[in-house]
Structures are given as C-alpha cells and as structure tokens.
C-alpha cells in the first residue's frame, strides 16, 4: 500500500493514497522502533507496539526515514492523558472519577463489621507509601501492632483486608514478604496474623499463601527477607504455590511473541514454541493459585493471607482472580472495574513501571496485568454465561492500560497519582467504558446462571488453556475467524431491540409509520453486507510459487498488508 506518514504530537498516522484507510498509532503504544538496512525500494522501518501490533514501513528516502526514526525515539514528557480532551466539562469529569467508590465496595462486602474496621493509620501515607489511604484491618489489631508489623514487611506492606467472604466470614488479606531472614521474628507481625485468624470464628487456622516458587523464597532469606516460619506463628498453614517472577514472565511473553510473529510458521514450530515459551504454563499457575485460594475460603471457610515478594504483582493476580471466582459481582462490567480499581490500582500495582509508560527501567517491565486479563479470558471460555462482559471489554482495558489516554493507570501508586493531580487534569477510563457499555456486553450472559453458580470451579487440565489469538494477534485480522458469532448475535439482539418499539408503534398508531426507515436501518446493520465485504480480505496465497511480487512502496505488514494487497 502506498501512502503518507504523518507525525503528530500524540500519534503516528498513516493515510493510504487511496484515502480509504488510515492507521493511527499512539506514541505510548510504540514499544520499539527498528531501522533495517537499505533496500532497493527504500529504507524499512519496523515498529512494534505494546498492543501486539507490528507495522512495517518502507520509506523511499533514507534521510526521511532517519528523521522519523529519531523523532519516534524521543521520549514524550507529556503523557497523552494530560492533553486528551473528550469535550467534557469539569463536572462530567469529576462524575467520571466518582463512578468507582472503594468505600462503597467494602460496604457491599459487609465491612466494616464486628470483626473488621477501617483504620486511619495510613491516612498520610506514613506507614506505607504504596498502599491507599483507607485500609481495613481486624478490630483487635491496634496501631502499634500495625506499625510494628509494617516495619517487618518489605516496603511496609503489612497484612490488610482485600476481600471479605460474607457467607463464611472468611477474609482474603494481602501483604508483602516478611523480613525474616534466617531467624528474625516480629511479635507485632505475629499478633496481626493472630488477629486475622481470630476474626474468623469458622476456622481455627489461617492459610498463608506464598505465591512464589519455594526456591525464590529461600533465596530471599539470604537478603534478609523470606517467608513465615510456621513455628513462630500460631495457627497458620503455610503454602507455596509457585508463580514465577516478573522477569520470567517478561521473557516468556517475548519468546511467545517471537514465535507467533514468525512468517509462514509451521504447526510444529508453533506448538514447540508455545511450550518452550512457558506462557500457558504460567497462566495455568496463576489460575491454579486462584483456585486454591477460592477453595480455602469457600469450602473450608478459612481466611487466607496472600503474599509474594513485594505483594503487588503475583499477589494482585491471585487476590483479584480468586475474588472473581468467588463473587459473581466481579464478573459484571461495573464489578470488574471495581476489582481492578481495588486490587490493582489502589493497592499499588506499578502500572507505570510494568507498562513502561515513561521510558523507565526495562527490567521493571512485565506483562503481569496482561496475564490477569488473559486468565479472565480463559475462564470466560469455560463459562460462557458467567461474565457480563465479552472479550472486547478485556481488549479495550488492555488497550488503555498502555495508551496513557486516561489517568487511571498512570503512576505506580495512589500517592503518586494524587501528586500528579490526575483527578483534576485527566479523565477516567471507567466513565468512558461505562458510556460505551453496550459494546462490551456478552450476549450469552445470564444473571440466573450467576445466581445459581456463585462460585466458579474451573478445570485446569492443560487442554483448557488456549492461545489467546484475539489478544496477541488483534491487528492481524487475516488470522481471525472471518465471521464472528459474537458480532452476529449482538447484531441480532440489537435488531430485536429495534423491533420492539416498532411493534408498539404499529399497534398503537397505525398512521404514524416510519417502517421503511426502520427497515433500512435494520437491514443495513444486519451484517450480511459488511460480512460479505470482509470475505474478500484474505487473499493470501497458499503456495509460495504462486505468490506475486508486491509493487508496494510503503507496506503495512501482516494483517494489514494482506488486507490491502
């Protein structure tokens, strides 16, 4: 495809010369830019995006190419969120930010109650910088105990409540690893765990889930960190669950993307690559851990304390996924937003670092949140009726975690966000998604199903985990099914909705007919037209001998190239 490339302050835009299509890429989405060696047609430029788009340009003049290359490498000090203006007034913006209220969420769970209370110990971020201001702890945990415990926990992240399972009065708590080293102990920390245990009358003990592989935890002891010694804590049951660390996850996804990005990939290389990348093994490990948590809480009625090293990656994954399995509310659109707001944003998952929003340390980048979204997708494949939202909702959230278009995911913790005055200067993604809710509904969702299956019990036999093509190849349309069941059903539902007013119109006022108009819209949107167009998309070739040279000067690689060749 031939076309013109435009660089703006926030986007890179490619407009085809036929002016039929244009592709725009947010600068924040660009993960890497690579200039390849000069060819006869020009200078190739390969841009890789965080949302798994891969674009291939050929620029005729090398100097132009170099200019583009160097300007793309510039770090953009201004994040897009600060300039993004969706034409809302201040009041609307403020309402957007008020959409999710975590205080109300804890109330929904039944907290505060006779065993759990809100503490103001972290009101000024004095005890823990990376926690939110409002924290919930057992009634019997005094301030000195909390402060003492926080000093014994990595980054001051002492055990706090994140989910309360009302039916059994069992709590899911989270924290970071104890600074136990080989023998150190802390009486306040032991009392705090005791208090968590005592707050639950249903069970004599509390589970402590260390989500790391045992080896990692052992290694941490040498650095004065480590894990709880069962001898020092009364009534705990300690359990490792073996989720790998951020570095392993980063490498794993890199390997996976390398494999699936190979041209004319063979089935065997694909499956071998899928295995050796370890990606699905890691996904399964997270789901397995969440199931362990869910079973402990819902079947045994036990409270569980979850931690990893710092308690903001694996801990966030396991706590949020566990809550999603236990509580149908989190499987609704609003509830899922609340869940992300609570376990990820407010408890300080380091979005800025993990998603590399500001050209930070490459060793801090890791697809931890992507993994969480994928786990949810894997579950939705097993339980097609359990989720109010469809895959598109997950994809859209993923898109905006990286786009920096909204303020929600900027920064690493609440304190930073307050300093950046995000609520005043940027807009909330949740409000935007809520206004667009219709597009994310899962037509198969059944509230009755949620009622009869409050707790999900997924199978984690390996064959239940599949490669998430629509995420990792979301821009490679040639690999997608040519017709989408989801789209078709949504269109039908939409049609049904349109028929109903027409039916009443016809019945009540026979003279006021606009049936012809309605008919046009109905048929126009029935999908048969648009679907027919999309058939033509793939004209890929099934034999290299039949492939024809493409005369394109600027070509968009993969899906896009095939789409337009």
């Amino acid at each position: 495809t031939n076309g013109t490339l435009y660089l703006t302050a926030t986007h890179l835009i490619f407009v085809e010369s036929s002016a039929k299509n244009s592709t725009s890429i947010l600068h924040h989405h660009i993960a890497s830019v690579e200039k390849l060696s000069l060819t006869t047609t020009g200078c190739p430029l390969v841009i890789q995006c965080r949302n798994f788009r891969l674009v291939h340009f050929v620029v005729q003049r090398e100097r132009d190419c170099h200019d583009i290359y160097s300007s793309l490498l510039l770090s953009y000090e201004e994040l897009y969120a600060f300039s993004y203006n969706p034409k809302q007034n201040d009041q609307q913006r403020e309402e957007g930010w008020q959409l999710i209220d975590l205080g109300a969420e804890f109330e929904r769970m039944g907290v505060p109650c006779d065993q759990w209370q809100l503490t103001d110990v972290n009101r000024d971020y004095k005890v823990c910088e990376t926690y939110p201001r409002d924290l919930y702890v057992p009634i019997t945990a005094s301030k000195p105990i909390i402060v003492g415990s926080s000093k014994f926990r990595s980054k001051g992240r002492f055990p706090v409540l994140t989910y309360f399972y009302q039916e059994k009065k069992a709590a899911v708590c989270r924290c970071s690893q104890p600074l136990s080293g080989f023998s150190a102990r802390c009486l306040e920390d032991e009392s705090l765990l005791q208090a968590i245990s005592k707050a639950n009358h249903n069970c004599r003990f509390v589970y402590v889930m260390d989500t790391r592989p045992k080896l990692n935890a052992l290694a941490n002891r040498a650095a004065g960190k480590g894990y709880e010694n069962e001898d020092n804590y009364s009534n705990i049951r300690f359990q490792f669950v073996g989720i790998e660390n951020i570095h392993v996850m980063r490498t794993s996804l890199q390997k996976l993307m390398e494999v699936v990005g190979t041209r004319s990939l063979s089935m065997s290389d694909y499956l071998v690559g899928l295995e050796s990348s370890g990606w699905l093994r890691h996904i399964k490990a997270v789901v397995d851990a969440a199931i362990f948590l869910t079973k402990a809480v819902t079947l045994e009625g036990a409270s569980v304390l979850v931690h990893c090293s710092d308690g903001w990656d694996r801990t966030a994954q396991v706590c949020s996924l566990g809550a999603l399995l236990m509580d149908p509310y989190y499987r609704t659109i609003k509830g899922f937003m609340v869940l992300i707001e609570k376990d990820w944003i407010s408890f300080g998952h380091k979005f800025a670092d993990r998603c590399d929003q500001l050209d930070g340390d490459p060793k801090e980048v890791s697809p931890i949140f992507t993994q969480f979204l994928e786990c949810v997708w894997q579950l939705s494949e097993q339980f097609p009726q359990a989720f109010e939202f469809s895959e598109w909702f997950l994809l859209q959230i993923h898109e905006h975690v990286h786009s920096c278009q909204y303020g929600n995911f900027l920064g690493n913790n609440q304190r930073q966000r307050e300093e950046l005055q995000l609520r005043e200067r940027t807009h909330s993604l949740w409000a935007f998604l809520m206004s667009d809710k219709e597009n994310y509904l899962n037509p198969f969702y059944s509230p009755a199903y949620a009622e009869s299956h409050p707790v999900l019990a997924p199978s984690t036999l390996p064959y239940h985990f599949k490669f998430w093509r629509n995420m990792y190849h979301q821009f490679d349309r040639s690999m997608h099914p040519r017709q989408s069941i989801l789209k078709t059903i949504l269109t039908l539902r939409e049609n049904s909705r349109k028929y109903i007013p027409e039916l009443s119109v016809c019945l009540c006022y026979p003279e006021a007919t606009e049936s012809t108009d309605t008919e046009r819209t109905v048929e126009g949107s029935s999908g048969s037209e648009s679907r027919k167009q999309s058939y033509g998309e793939l004209e890929g070739t099934y034999n290299s001998e039949l492939a024809k040279e493409e005369p394109a000067v600027v070509s968009l690689e993969f899906g896009v190239a095939r789409m337009t060749c």
Binding site: D269, L280, L461, Y463, E511, Y542, N543, E545
Partner: protein, 559 residues
Amino acid sequence: MNIKLIKYGVMEFAELIKTPRVDGVVLHRPFLPTVEGTLCLTGHHLILSSRQDNTEELWLLHSNIDSIEKRFVGSLGSIIVKCKDLRVIQLDIPGMEECLNISSSVEALSTLDSVSLMYPFFYRPMFEVIEDGWNSFLPEEVFKDLESMTDEWRLSEVNKDFSVCPSYPPLVAVPKDVDDDTLRKVASFRHSGRFPVLSYYHKKNGMVMMRAGQPLTGTNGRRCKEDEKLINATLRPGKRGYIIDTRTINVAQQAKARGGGFESEANYPQWRRIHKTIERANVLQEGLIKLVEACNDQSHSMDRWLSKLEASNWQTHVKEILTTACLAAQCIDREGASVLVHGTEGTDSTLQVTSLAQIILDPACRTIRGFQGLVEREWLQAGHPFQQRCAQSAFSNNKSRQEAPVFLLFLDCVWQILRQFPCSFEFSESFLVLLFEHAYASQFGTFLGNGAAGRAKLSLPEKTVSLWSWVNRPQELERLTNPLYEANSLVIWPSVAPQSLLLWEGVFLRWNRSSKCLDEAYEEMVHIIEYNKELQNKVNSLRRQLAQLETEDPLLQTP
C-alpha cells in the same frame, strides 16, 4: 425400551454369548453419575438398563468397541470399554466368571470378520423413511446439473461392470471428446485403473478439478499418449493447468521404483506440477493414537500436554491438508486454471483435497443436503475404502496397516472452516460428529464396504438402510441445522496459520470435559436467534397489514 423386545436375529451370535445377562453391574462414565443395573448382551449390542424410571440406559453397538480391558480386585471384576467414538467407560461386574465371560463375548462380537453379520443387515428402521437415501445422490442426477452448465462432458459407462476400475462407480464423467477405448488405455496407465475423472466444475469460470491415481511411469519413464490427450482435453486453448501431487517430490520419486510415478514436464508441457506433503495412511493412524492418548492424559503438566499434542502431528496434518485444498481452490478460482489432483492410489489424500476444495469454492456443498452429496460423490462413490480405514480407531491393539483416520481428518478440516465461517454452513458441528460416529460404527449401511465394486456385491440398497434416510427427516434436520446460517454465495478462504487452527474439542475432548456450560450457552444463542426471528415475523406481518390498510383507506395514508 424393554429388552425382551429385542430379537436375536441369528443363531451364530448365540454361541458367542456365554453369559447373556448379569445383575448388579455398575457403570462409570466421566462427568455422569454412576448407574447400577442389569447388563445384557445381544448379537449386536451391549445394554445396561437400570430398573428405575428415568435413568438413562446404555446402548452400545459391539462394532463401536475398539478395545476392552479386564481388571480384578478380589472377586469384583471390571471391564474398561474403549469405543471408536473415543468414549471410555467402565463396567464393574460382580463375579469373576461373569466378568470373564462378558469380556470374551464382547471381544468376539466386536471383531466379527464377516461384513454380512454386521448390524446394518439386521437393523429395521423404527422411523418413517420419507426419502430413500440410497436414491438421493445418483450420478445420473448429479450429471444433469452439470449438463445444464456445460456440454463439454459426458457420462461414460465404460466401468459398467467394474472391470476397468473396481473402485470407481459404473458411471463417471469424462471429457466429451474422449471415447471409452481411450479410457481403457488410460486406466491401464493409472494406479488401480483410476483414470482422471471429473470431480468438480467451477461454474464461475468453467474451470474443472479432476482426480486420478498416480501415473504408472515406472523407472524408465513410460508414457501414455491417451493419458496426455485426456487431461489436455480439459484445457482451454492456450491455457495451462496445475497438477497437484499430494506427495512430496521425494516420495513421488520413490514411487517410481514400485512402478508408480508422476507426470513429467516433458510429456505434460501444458501442466505445472506442485508437490505437497500430505502424509500417508499409517502415519495418520499413528497420529490419531498419539493424539487421543494425549487427550486422555489427566496429568496437570502443561508442557507435557503441548509436547504430546505436537508429537502427535495431528494439527500438522490438518494444516497440510487444508493448505493443499486451498491451493487447489486458488488455482481454480484465482488463477483461472484447471486442476488435476492425485497422490498414490487416489483414494485418500486426493479425496481430502478435492472434497475440501469444493467446500471452499461451492456454496452448495455447505448445505446439509449438499454436504451429503459431497460425501456421497467424493468419498463413497469415489472409492474411499471405509471398511478398511475405519475398522479400528485410536485404542485398538491389533493394527493392520490399512486403518487410517483419513475421513476423520477431512471432517476435522471442515470443522476448522466452519469455525472460521460460523454463519456460512447450513449444518452445525453435530452433523460432522454424527458422520464421524457412523463412519466407524453404525446401524446404517452407508459406510460399509470398500470401493464401488465391493459395495455393489453387498447389495446395500436392498439389504440395509441408508444414513441419509435417517438424516433427511424434519426432526433430525432440525437438530443438525446451524441456527446462524445465512446463505453465502461467495468463495470462502480459510486462514491456515497455526494460530487459527484449533483442536477439535467436540470430538477429541468430548468425553473428557463437562460440556454443560458450553451447551447451555449454545441453547441461549439458539434462543436469541429464535426470538429475533419471531419479532421479525411479527413486524413483517404488521407491515403487510398496514400497507393493506393504507391502500384500502386513503385517509390513513401518511401525508
């Protein structure tokens, strides 16, 4: 159903049944509650019936049993029955002698040699036959359609008594200008006498797809002028065609030593030959065994699952077959060229390619009836040896070299296309699963025998019921219909990227997972579609009434 009503048709079976009936047998099936009841053996069925009302009974055709294993714990014996449809069940039988008797009887009954003792010859339909399936897809009827489009082909009776080619039907479509004598000469130059015949006529541009057996060039490069003449007769002046050889060039070269070979450039200058890599029968069978073994592995190791899946090569076969079929379709539709497809015998990989290419090119093949016609034309009448290929499935220990899941792979490929175009097929996945089941074990005669001559000897139309007679009844058609279907007249190009091809869970994980949630979601989908249709009908009828009122009463007309 009352067991006493079942008639044991033949005396032979009585000798094989040592213990016809055992009480207190417990049936274990994954994801279903256990059932206790009475086990009965009849000539063709293994039946478990519990005396309670509303409890499901097990009716299993002996011919569906692929392998049987015995286990003893004290005096309690168990038999594990592994079926050709990949289901695995366990029966706990009290009493060692009973268990041994049942096991040996079932073993004997499930491995009967004689075709004429198979259940289809004893089965009497309990349903009303609306249309006799044996007459539904006769070659002369199919040819009438062709005649309406072109006069370049004729129906030859050269194989009337199966003497020219035992695996071909008595009537085949060949180029009009080629006479029967030429055909006889060509037949002697092609493997098993399978001379090139018409497989598909592409209405859009008049291009054709033919299929054949490999040419018998041998090591000294024998040629046959008549063969060249025959296939050149299908080319338009100045046009070139493509020969798709489903074997790699190496395999094709090696075939020369055994008298086979391929069309050389020198003798077939108007044809371009392309070699592909579709594996031979025994490799496919091994793949099936490995795949099913992997699917039944209950270990929780992801690496083990993926490496076993890879080692089975099943998905590779699916990809290769689909790619070759797409290539054939591409040559015809995009390159505007005619195509000749063959492998070695022309009864396996060749048919996979020609039938799948038609699914891609011809919307008619994507309807329920059209698909039946395709299976009838390109598999049954084209001489795929079903009896040999489907004698055993993934569990059997006695492996003959003839078994191969060639047809199952074809169905898998159709399923892949169906997944990618879920609205373009009139039938749903359940139709494909049904064909898989019946190809391996059935009360119907449709898939019995090997090749046209072998099938003719069995007098199937006179002695058995056709599967199509069962399928083409309103209640069955309704069950097999895809609710999303919307006729699509276009060519459909599937993606063959590994990321786009999935494991066919509906067959391979069918018994290893609870499908309750998926089934319920499917029901919900059907409900949405039906509700939409209902509303649409209401709106349409109201519109009609309105239009009528308007014409009758000018006062009601809108200004």
